[in-house]
Symmetry: C2
Subunit: 189 residues, 2 copies
């Protein structure tokens, strides 16, 4: 499936082995979030992709069928939920680039969304995977907003992720155990 | 726009006057949530409607266009967000019925979703409007689950909303000021 801006998202894959490298970040997050749910650690889920329906009709079985629709620009992030009683919210992105993360990956409305959560003292962040380097970072919304508000640039260099973000270790079952890092940053454990 | 199961949802309406009775619950919630956001009281928003895309193509402008898609059964509730640092989540429904709320309005997956939130100590509830009576109730997920788990019925009588729910007063700007009731139930103020 293709999403706006040519962003490719992974498909669900229930058959994951340790050797199965090159899984998409989305697949890894699905597996991790499923682990969190099954072990009653957190309840974090993916929101539906926003779609603008232009034309719809009923088919011969009386079922509503959409005949024309478009992917609309997301006004929120992809994931949210609850962890230790806290509201948690994040956006996950991959880039093939080795040296920087292009800000065109994050829409203006999503930044507004993150500002709202920040002002309400929610826990929010970005998870960015540099696929070529096989490195996945968590960057808090606070540090993300600090950067974009001060720097007025169109990219974030990987050095900023190294200095202000947290490298997420790749694990076996909890593929991207980001809550371990959330515990550290927000002192939850 | 028509949704699955013949549920009708309201359209956005930015031009609301005090005399404008008969607004849908969704419109009233939009206005109320907008008030909460603008006054930095809470950040609560509506999730996109889940749609399953079957066929998509590119149009002559190179834009991705969906040619065949269906409304899928919702796996979560319609609204969620953050209030006083707490995760908040609810489903809003209208019924024309005067004496009971048909449980067919709430999908199995949505009940599972509410159970997850309950187990993670989130704040969640139903907002049900009996349109013919012009009465809107808030019923906590705890009381909702208590009822459906014990009673095994296909409806909830209005008497249960009267005894276990809270009537939401209709106001001028904060059309359905449900956070006032959330404060009471969860002792947040």
């Amino acid at each position: 499936m293709n999403y706006p801006n040519g962003i490719k998202k992974g498909i669900d894959n229930k058959y994951i082995t340790y050797k199965n490298r090159g899984m998409t970040l989305e697949s890894d997050l699905n597996v991790t979030n499923q682990y969190y749910i099954e072990n009653n650690i957190a309840y974090i889920y993916k929101k539906p992709t926003p779609i603008k329906v232009v034309k719809a009709d009923y088919n011969s079985k009386g079922l509503r069928v959409i005949k024309e629709a478009y992917y609309s620009e997301p006004s929120t992030t992809d994931y949210n939920g609850i962890y230790k009683g806290n509201y948690i919210d994040y956006e996950a992105k991959e880039t093939k680039n080795k040296s920087y993360f292009p800000l065109s990956n994050i829409h203006e409305h999503q930044i507004t969304h993150l500002r709202h959560i920040e002002s309400q003292n929610g826990i929010s962040f970005l998870i960015v995977r540099f696929t070529t380097l096989n490195k996945t970072y968590l960057l808090s919304t606070k540090d993300f907003l600090d950067y974009i508000d001060k720097m007025k640039k169109s990219t974030i260099p990987i050095s900023y992720f190294e200095s202000h973000g947290y490298l997420i270790k790749e694990k076996y079952i909890k593929r991207v155990d980001y809550l371990e890092i959330v515990d550290k940053i927000w002192r939850l454990s």
